[in-house]
Symmetry: C2
Subunit: 257 residues, 2 copies
């Protein structure tokens, strides 16, 4: 299994604090040490740091932990390999282009007997069930809409695909096109929204505290999504099971449009 971390904000924000705690789970406080990756959207572009080494000790994760990259949409993943070897092509997040936007995906869970027939629009490079699911989802989106529709229409296609794929096993995922963060939970995923008045948060996996009131403005809003809560003194909300949620501008967009 694996763990997911996502962030969706209304202003570009760095993820250093959360990522420091998250990385500890890749070899120190937990066993997810078969690689890690993180993708930051910046404008329409995105950049990924992917590494098949443990996140807790990786030279590259040290850089990401200490170098503040500001982004409105970030997806990170630490891996405990089940299907597919420990190597770069099996390291999440995965990225593809659709409708002239990058789409980024990371998955937590195992899918049993999941061998979708793909038309070829998107094909997996690695050997994970996760990348197959991502390719199937993008194929469905591409074939449903010629150009990018509203987020609600995207969420509806995702919901249908997620319902179907969830029949094969655990399917917690994060998906973003740099505008919204789509999230789906079948077993375990939590979130919180940090907004004014900001307070101090304390990491669960590392002895670090941060007073967010010192690094934010009153208009900032940040949603953080994680497989397991990252802090000990904030209230994390469990995701409803089996429903695709859409985060935009740092909170759940509802009704979706």
């Amino acid at each position: 299994m694996c763990q997911l971390l996502g962030m969706n904000c209304n202003v570009p924000t760095d993820i250093c604090f959360s990522f420091k705690g998250f990385c500890e789970r890749g070899g120190v406080t937990d066993e997810h040490k078969d690689g890690w990756g993180i993708t930051f959207f910046e404008g329409k572009g995105c950049r990924s740091f992917l590494d098949p080494h443990p996140s807790a000790s990786s030279v590259i994760s040290s850089l990401v932990k200490s170098y503040p990259i500001k982004s409105c949409n970030v997806i990170a993943h630490i891996r405990k390999a089940t299907l597919g070897e420990v190597n770069l092509e099996n390291t999440h997040p995965f990225t593809r282009e659709l409708w002239g936007q990058y789409w980024v995906f990371a998955h937590n869970g195992d899918l049993k007997g999941f061998h979708p027939t793909l038309a070829g629009d998107y094909l997996p490079v690695g050997a994970t069930d996760s990348e197959q699911a991502f390719c199937l989802i993008l194929e469905r989106l591409r074939r449903s809409f010629e150009t990018k529709p509203a987020a609600g229409a995207i969420a509806a296609v995702l919901q249908e695909a997620a319902d179907e794929i969830s029949g094969h096993g655990t399917f917690n995922f994060l998906l973003s096109n740099g505008e919204c963060m789509f999230a789906h939970c079948t077993t375990k995923l939590s979130y919180l929204v940090r907004q004014h008045p900001f307070s101090t948060a304390r990491l669960k996996d590392k002895d670090i505290e941060l007073d967010f009131s010192e690094v934010t403005t009153p208009d900032d809003r940040v949603a953080v999504i994680a497989t397991e809560p990252l802090t000990t003194n904030e209230t994390w909300i469990g995701f409803p099971k089996g429903r695709v949620l859409v985060f935009r501008d740092g909170h759940i967009a509802d009704p979706v449009n």
Copy 2:
């Protein structure tokens, strides 16, 4: 304009030495300071480091210069913006998936009046002529072959596309799928092949020497491709103009198959 750096080897090799010299051209010895990027293939996977900051002073390029990542195919680019703002989505190399492989592309040159009609298989995310050319090339490849053909057949499609696109201006490019490095030159591109007996190379842009005989085995072979020669004491060979060359296992594959 921009500068290109490519490496193709028969065994995974790090590019730290060449990259150290190359990065100096992004703000110190030359003016290509509008971002930089580098992509390493490792197995079927690839990882990119992309940064809109100058390569000579970037925190991330410092990491890449000092952290040896071993790869058989590497493409790097430093940018002097002409078309498209200085931002992440306009930063080369660009990556897309075709036939279940990642394809990576970087371009040096300006294309005038180049506005290809794209069918939608691949669409640019940023605003560069380069990414448009890349999308057009991949579309042609996809529509020419249902599955990956031999490198010679790929090169033939590339040659036709390159001939056409070159009509719009300078079109020096590097393209790799992790197996081969395809290179095309209309104005300026050089290469050399380092092989046994290895000797000492001296960078042109930084006071660094490396004795390759100390870090290689007699079977190693490395082709390095660059817009401008990177070393002062080796013989760099100018590319023939207007011809797609294919590098494999550290030298030019000819006849291509």
